[in-house]
Symmetry: C2
Subunit: 281 residues, 2 copies
């Protein structure tokens, strides 16, 4: 049976691009119109793996997706980084002066705000998906409305790019995780990254103590976030991403933190594919 990958959005979306890059060009995809549907596709077994955006270098973490992974006990088995290039597109022949409304995903609108602010007469309308708007404009031959989407979407739905690369910040990277319902066996030698969740009591200094242990075990913290504990307002869980060179260092930290914390859970242990973008300071 051919592997099926659940993506958020339709073909031509950035999720589709990631599925093609991470797996292979003509991978079979299950188009899901929300992240909830994406998780359901995985849980029902309609798809074997799923691609889910988790963090953007500009807008930050996509918080509800952390909760979805956690609540449904999904496993992060990999990650992929995509440079997001946003383009303004409309029916062939349409010019910027013809556009009354721009429809796109809220994140895409946010990413292009500096460009959009130059056209205060154009109304911004939030939509479910970047590529879907492109498809709708094409299918219904809608004039006066432009989409913000990928070049792939313009090609796929025969739209003309009025303004290319309109995102405010050029270096606009999104991190996607690859999810499975059941954990995959990966050799410890290949693992150099983990996503964990833990809960601490409210004692002063308890988080500092945990971070000290991680630092002593040579773990690099690449991300930390306190998130409210569902059903217990203002009690916080911590979601932490770490990288490490040796699995045994990580294993030691994991053993210690799971004793120190009220609750400890591994969301995924996988291979870091992060592009080397960091300055060396």
């Amino acid at each position: 049976m051919r592997t099926k990958i659940a993506i958020q959005g339709i073909k031509g979306s950035f999720h589709h691009q990631v599925a093609k890059d991470y797996f292979y060009q003509n991978v079979a995809v299950d188009e899901c119109l929300s992240f909830e549907e994406l998780v359901d596709s995985l849980l029902r077994g309609d798809s074997d793996q799923a691609v889910m955006a988790i963090e953007n270098s500009i807008a930050g973490p996509i918080i509800p997706n952390y909760a979805l992974i956690d609540k449904n006990n999904l496993h992060i088995i990999g990650e992929h980084y995509l440079d997001i290039i946003q383009n303004l597109m409309a029916l062939p022949g349409q010019k910027i002066e013809d556009i009354q409304e721009v429809h796109s995903h809220p994140m895409a609108l946010l990413q292009c705000m500096d460009f959009l602010k130059k056209y205060p007469n154009i109304k911004l309308v939030e939509d479910k998906d970047t590529a879907e708007t492109a498809r709708r404009i094409h299918e219904n031959q809608i004039k006066g409305i432009a989409a913000i989407a990928s070049e792939t979407a313009a090609d796929m739905y025969n739209l003309e790019i009025i303004a290319p690369s309109i995102q405010t910040i050029d270096n606009n990277m999104t991190r996607f995780v690859i999810l499975k319902k059941e954990n995959s066996f990966v050799s410890e030698d290949e693992i150099n990254r983990a996503s964990i969740k833990f809960e601490l009591d409210h004692k002063r200094g308890s988080l500092a103590a945990v971070l000290n242990v991680m630092s002593d075990c040579k773990l690099n913290l690449t991300k930390i976030q306190s998130l409210p504990k569902i059903e217990t307002p203002w009690k916080y869980s911590f979601f932490v991403d770490v990288t490490f060179e040796k699995y045994e260092d990580y294993a030691k930290a994991k053993a210690l933190v799971s004793i120190m914390a009220h609750y400890f859970k591994v969301l995924g242990e996988y291979k870091n594919t992060k592009p080397l973008l960091e300055s060396p300071n």
Copy 2:
């Protein structure tokens, strides 16, 4: 001149409710259709203060709003907590069987997902604002579409509540901050809470060192979040909220951390009005 308060959304929105609770019942409001507009209203001087949702006890922090406060150098001068009760409402006489679509803000849809999942035939449509959908249904006498909004919105736009209190988690609290363009003078005696931002170099253990200092200075960390540094992908800033008993303890921590960090900024020093919901562990 009468004080004008910028709110996100129209009258009947949860932001309007907070403005009424925090200031006074018939406060003059400037209705802003996005958080960007809310900030612009403050910067232009169209309003004196603004109410901005910053964190929800279920969905977590509203990340782009942190960036808006930071980028525009706004000052947090207070906070307010509101218990969010969501209701399904439609034109009088409409029943749940008559409803084909529910329109609301993505956060509201998310908060009511368990209820909405019981009606898989009802299409969910994301909208800008909870109250605005209610107003549109009323003004255009739209049948077959329901809104999810506050009881105030139902009263204000003459809609009937089909299903009250449909949020999944009963204890659904949102934290709002009160913003000003210029800082207000507040007596140090009244301050027991601060929101700060700092950047650290990528050295292992640097965050643990800062948290140790905070703990030594008797600061309680109520929230921590790493956020990407705009224009420098995957370099992180930290947004931290703390509470304290004595301003002098906080002042000491502030002096130390501003030396340890590459960059240090106070987003606001104010009075903690947090309801006492935490269990004493």
